[in-house]
Amino acid sequence: MPEVAAPASIARPDGWQVLKRNRSALIALGFLAGLSLIAVVVPVLLPEELKLTSSNSFVPPSAAHFLGTDVNGQDMLYRLLSGARVSLGVGLVGALISLVIGTLYGMISGYAGGRIDGVMMRTVEVLQSVPRILFIMILIAALDDYVKEWIDGWRLSAQARNWSDLAKTISDVKPYSKVLVMIVSLGLVEWLTMARIVRGQVLVLREMTFVTASRAMGQSPWGVLRRHLLPNLSTIILTYLTLTIPAVILDESFLSFLGLGIEDPAASWGSLLKDGAQVINPLESKWWLLVFPALLMSASLLALNFLGDGLRDAFDPKSGE
């Protein structure tokens, strides 16, 4: 089948150059890359005894524990970095799920047009008028027990077959089941903005001559979407991915702070902040439980927002200046 070459990008061609000149966005990118690397590598390198619970609870920052210890006597540096793993991981994967759903939905709606587009966009409007965080809470509560039960079922069947290694792995993984539930629930509700943005872009793109030419040559709708529209949508998708990640991280920590999200022994920034906020009292300040998670979380969200704004300035044709 003959192919029509699509132009590389119809966004302002100098988008990457605009981004390269944006110093704060580059610093933010560097910070996030460094943090992700540290969060993945350092917990592996830390000595094992720091990771276990001990009787040394609430030790202030010292040479043995750089950031002090928490109520269970676990090292805060380890808790903070494993919290960063969970928070950043939930943010990234949740945002990716919402990206897939939102992009597909927006592309189909925009490309189909007419009545289908009308129904699909009206649905998005209705969903936007629903308080979604309430939905997430109910959804998580409903899914969580089922997932825990499945995991128990797998563990039992592994034990029954004498696969003790697998059974042990499964019971190690069980506390983290809520992470999975949260990723899925948040991904399922955060795609609305992405769908609207993508649809808007598709409406513009589908009127372009290279799309008409490709259609005239007999390319199927899916082929047009995949070969011609998707490459031209990539930068705007990347931009809104960067802006969705902090939104998902905020939702996750919101729920964990209220005690409906990540639970011990797993940690996230939200659950660490919950633990820190609970021990505030006028007599004895355990500031390290609150200050370090707060600093790291705010810095990460600030970096993500800087990067997202930078990307939007560089690539979003609609963002004025």
Binding site: M137, F254, F257, L260, A277, L301, N305
Partner: protein
């Protein structure tokens, strides 16, 4: 106007109905019923409890019974706080959340519009830059971080304001500020961008040409147009403040509807959860409708359609 209101009312009822249905079904297929958490009651007592609360039979039977009572404006009984009607509990707790939300709403919209306009008029000066950096900063500091820090600084360290609770004016300052802070920033950013666009327009050049000072031109002519995007944001803003108040209520120990919501999920208190969801949805729908009407009053070019 009237046909618009009728059509909107109709579609709102459908939205609320869908939300209630999904909430109820999700809450009932969740493992662990409302009476499973405490010491397991003897079977015949549990059966009697389930019958009293109309929670026996299939989920479909329970659902139709619930919808049937809703149609008669009966929100049912709380399964956790025995002998309390859901409507009584909500009446008791809603006013606190409502006052907190309204206060934060007023703070966020007014100071946001003010700061945003200031930043736009002083574009590219230190005022603009620091206001916009401050805005990004306060967007990046969620209320569950700012809340404990505000308490630590103003209540524990300086001792100026009380740690928590609700009722006196001094108890309201910290929670309302904490809830409003990120939204001041959203409104300010929106207002700045919109006013910058308007400042470039022809009618403002005319206003300046006839001798108005920049402040007069902005106050008399530009604000009216530039504020429209902010007005459209007021609907989502109300939604965020409603749910955001859960965190603030838990940090500042305020007994409000947000805590009811969180507790009813944990206690599997189906009817209280349903009641809270209904109140949230109705408030949101009413507010969005209100915003749409305000919008047409501000901008005569817009016609309402549904």
């Amino acid at each position: 106007m009237l046909p618009f209101l009728l059509r909107r009312a109709f579609s709102s009822v459908i939205v609320i109905f869908c939300v209630i249905s999904i909430t109820f079904v999700l809450a009932r297929i969740t493992k662990g019923g409302p009476f499973d958490k405490e010491k397991e009651p003897p079977p015949h007592i549990k059966e009697a409890l389930l019958t009293r609360y109309k929670l026996n039979g299939t989920v479909w039977d329970q659902y139709t019974a619930y919808v049937g009572s809703l149609v008669r404006f009966d929100l049912g009984l709380s399964t956790r706080y025995r002998d309390w009607r859901v409507s009584e509990l909500l009446q008791q707790k809603m006013p606190n959340s409502f006052a907190l939300g309204t206060l934060a709403f007023v703070i966020a919209s007014f100071s946001g519009v003010f700061l945003g306009s200031l930043a736009a008029m002083k574009k590219d000066t230190w005022i603009d830059r620091s206001a916009m950096f401050g805005a990004l900063l306060s967007i990046s500091i969620p209320s569950f971080i700012s809340g404990p820090f505000l308490i630590a600084i103003f209540a524990l360290w300086l001792g100026w304001l009380p740690v928590g609770g609700w009722g006196t004016a001094s108890q309201m300052i910290l929670p309302a500020l904490c809830l409003a802070a990120p939204y001041i920033a959203y409104v300010a950013r929106l207002m700045r961008n919109s006013l910058l666009d308007v400042l470039k327009s022809d009618f403002l050049r005319t206003a300046r040409a006839k001798g108005l000072t920049e402040t007069q031109a902005v106050a008399r002519h530009a604000i009216k147009v530039a504020i429209l995007p902010v007005v459209t944001f007021l609907g989502p803003l109300a939604a965020h403040l409603l749910t955001g108040s859960m965190i603030v209520e838990s940090v500042f120990n305020i007994s409000g509807a947000g805590m009811i919501f969180v507790n009813s999920i944990q206690n599997r208190d189906v009817f209280l959860l349903g009641g809270a969801v209904i109140v949230y949805c109705v408030l949101l729908v009413l507010f969005n409708l209100f915003v749409d009407v305000i919008y047409t009053l501000l901008d005569k070019r817009i016609k309402l359609y549904a």
